[in-house]
Amino acid sequence: MSILDTAKETAQGLMQGALEKLVPLAPDSWIPGGVPDPLIARKHGLIGSPVSRLDGAFKVQGQAPFAAEFRFDRMTYAALAYATVARGRVASIDSAAAEGAPGVVLVMTHRNAPRMNTPAVFGSSPSAVGPSDLPIFQDDRVHWNGQPIACVLAETQEQADHAASLLAFTYDEEPSTTTLEGARAAGTEQGVMMGRPLLNKIGDADAALAAAPHSVDHLYRTPRHNHNAIEPHAATIAWVDDQLHIHDASQMVTQQAQTVAEVFDLKPDQVRLTSPYVGGGFGSKGLWDHQIIGAAAAKLCGRPVRITLSREGVYRVVGGRTLTEQRVAIGAQADGAIDALIHTGMAVMTPHNSMPEPFTLGTQSAYASPNITLQVKMAKMNMLANTFMRAPGEAVGTFALESAIDELAVELGMDPIDLRLRNEPDRDPVSGLPFSSRNIAEAWRRGAEAFGWNERSATPGTRRDGEWQVGMGCATGTYPYYRMPGAEARITLTLQDGAIHAKVEIAAAEMGMGTSTTTAIVAAERLGLPIEQVEVAYGDSAIPGAIMAGGSQQTAAIGGAVIAAHNALVAELLKLAGNDSPLAGLSPDEVGSEGAALCKLDDPGRRESYASILGRAQRDQVSVTQAGSPPLELMHWSMHSHSALFCEVRVNAVTGETRVGRFLGAFDCGRILNPKTARSQFRGGIIMGLGMALMEETQFDERNGRIMNPSLAEYHVPVHLDVPEIDVIWTDIPDPHTPMGAHGIGEIGITGVAAAVANAVYNATGRRVRDLPITLDKLI
């Protein structure tokens, strides 16, 4: 690193430090969201009314093109071969039979792959999204069992698959760490997330725990998980002159294009990455080895490549959620007041990636306690890089925390909801910041009433229906509100045959969350146009800005960018309107949009239509591009979503089988923009949580570091018969400090669910399972 870089980083660090000191003290009105978004006050528009997905007709007819469904002329098909040792070197490769097999165009290994830069590991720069800091096909080293070590291209997929089966490798194995105990023995280190240690200490939690009249102190374990999006990862890739075209399945289109550009020494605009439809992501649809291998192979053979991972390939190449071992200890007074809250433990990652599983994040703002210790330590294992999976940290962290709260309620003889409400904080217990919006008590009240919580017996094992033991449990879910910097929006108004058409372009991703529909709703409301006259374009790296479908922040990032672009559009239109307009003399912040017109905010009769302004200016189009404001609100308020979750289970007294009979989620996530798609997001998260609670586990062979169940037959996810009708309600109370008053809701759904199930299993049986998944062997 040069002296200049060091100085720059130091300056940025100082700037960051100064911001963090000053932003909390600044008046609200200086902060984005300090003045509520005017759309919050608009009650009778499209926002909040159920709108069917605008892309629905394409999807139900199979017309929505996914990454493996684009075609190029002379396209070849790729198949990968995977290493079978956890660490070492590829000693020999016998590729003669594969090279001679029918239809084979290329066998690429590290011996003949083009020279490429190592992808920048996720988080090492704003655009870096590499899976690890490992070079790809550049040397003979093997870093995990399952690492791709050869790529075959052939005229058809069948020919490629057959040829790949003919490849033979020998290895020089080297010592590896593939057991949890081995990793622990080698030493753990402080987990660091985006440059910040996962460590919080308030007061003296150990002393307070020892002094508390009541306490619980237990270990909770969660296994590895895989996302298992039904669409396997795929890319269709072509080099056209010096341009690289990638049809990909991506949650981060622009960042992926930029990282790939750096790998191949290209300028950012030389990589065009599109991803109009993504067949499920949940954190997994990012940059992994296969896109780079495919692009390298396409470059080497001079033909386009379709690389589609097999289902097994997804498990070998695409990381999942790592395992955790968490201690939660809580000390409390007889009335339930918490004196000490300790949430510590370890997770496993690799020596080469940047993803600790931050399971303490949700605990930071959960409960008032004068003494808090939170810490995540990491152990290192030789395995595929783990990654974020739906609510990384919170999904597994809330299992431990909310199980422990239930155990404390049992210890105190208190109702677990009363215990939670008894410890509601009035400001963030760790940061000290005020909450932007926290209506968790309302969620509990409404949820308990709708679910019939008062029918629960506080004594475990007392309700029985034949051979089924019946029990109820509850838990809190939580996920932070984020808004990442870098989002831009381009709004183009076009006047055609007297009518205004708006195009809103955002470099966002749609994996089924409903983003394209919700963006159209919000843009239509903001522009004062019918939704039919608004077109949303997304999923293309050629669109300005960079937006990630991650951290449940995309809705806010888009919302903020569209606010900024709309402000710029108003200013531009006022300029065009000139002195002959009824709006003459007004400044942009006095003017808003309504009924396809600009109007004075406090005197809507003073107005001029878009069509009139453009017509008089002899323009048929006006276009603006603007970035959203920096997300300073995150330093000014403690911003979170919450849920109150209720579960009823039936546990078979003979077989130990657990069935979820009823589930209800009451959510406090700001204003809900589209109830139809929001309900699906909440339910989807809850169902993934049911899988986590009862069946999901990526089985890792500790002898050799290989994943043993790389298939949808052996990794069980909830199927139709496992999923009851899931009730979802919400407070719908806008957060006054966010765009539209909304929060992103992609991840909150899964949080707390495993604890709600485990707590219900305890209520049904008197058996406390602290080790997920709750399979029948743990209950017999």
């Binding site: 394409f58 007819q61 439809y277 993504v278 018969l721």
Partner: protein
């Protein structure tokens, strides 16, 4: 030798190893039928053969000489969606849309099975007519995985389409 796909006669693949799924997707460019696992575990590749649902990833294309294959692209008639397709939109029976063609084809085949009186694991009385109860739908659709968690919407769409139809 030919297959009849959505009413059109098409040639089989040259390579007998080609699955019906790959022939549809790569040979005929009918990519509505999805590949989720290629080993019969997820149901995304479900198509109808002479009205019966099959997993096209576990079928060799050359086995289907003269058979009528209906894919998701063949369900809409004269630009009007099949009622089940419309119900999937109305009940939000999908999010990402990747398992959706398989869910839809499977549900159509499933409803026909119930119509024919074929029992399932959860059918209590094997002598009575099978009914499209919620539990029967859930059991019979359990071979079609959905990871987005649209199960409630899928079941609601199937009920709205076939249960109402049966009662009418």
């Amino acid at each position: 030798m030919s297959l009849i796909v959505n009413g059109t006669s098409v040639a089989p693949p040259d390579d007998p190893r080609v699955s019906l799924l790959d022939h549809l997707r790569e040979g005929l460019h009918l990519t509505g039928t999805k590949k989720g696992c290629n080993q019969g575990a997820c149901g995304a590749c479900t198509v109808l053969v002479d009205g019966e649902r099959i997993l096209s990833c576990l079928a060799l294309a050359v086995q289907y000489d003269g058979r009528h294959i209906t894919t998701v692209e063949g369900l809409a008639q004269d630009d009007a969606l099949h009622p089940l397709q419309a119900a999937f939109i109305e009940h939000d029976g999908f999010q990402c849309g990747y398992c959706t063609p398989g869910q839809i084809c499977s549900a159509i085949g499933m409803a026909a099975e119930v119509e024919r009186g074929v029992p399932s694991h959860v059918t209590a009385d094997l002598r009575a007519d099978a009914a499209l109860t919620r539990e029967e739908i859930q059991e019979r659709m359990s071979g079609n995985l959905c990871r987005c968690g649209a199960h409630n919407g899928i079941v609601a769409a199937i009920q709205a389409t076939f249960v109402v139809e049966a009662q009418a």
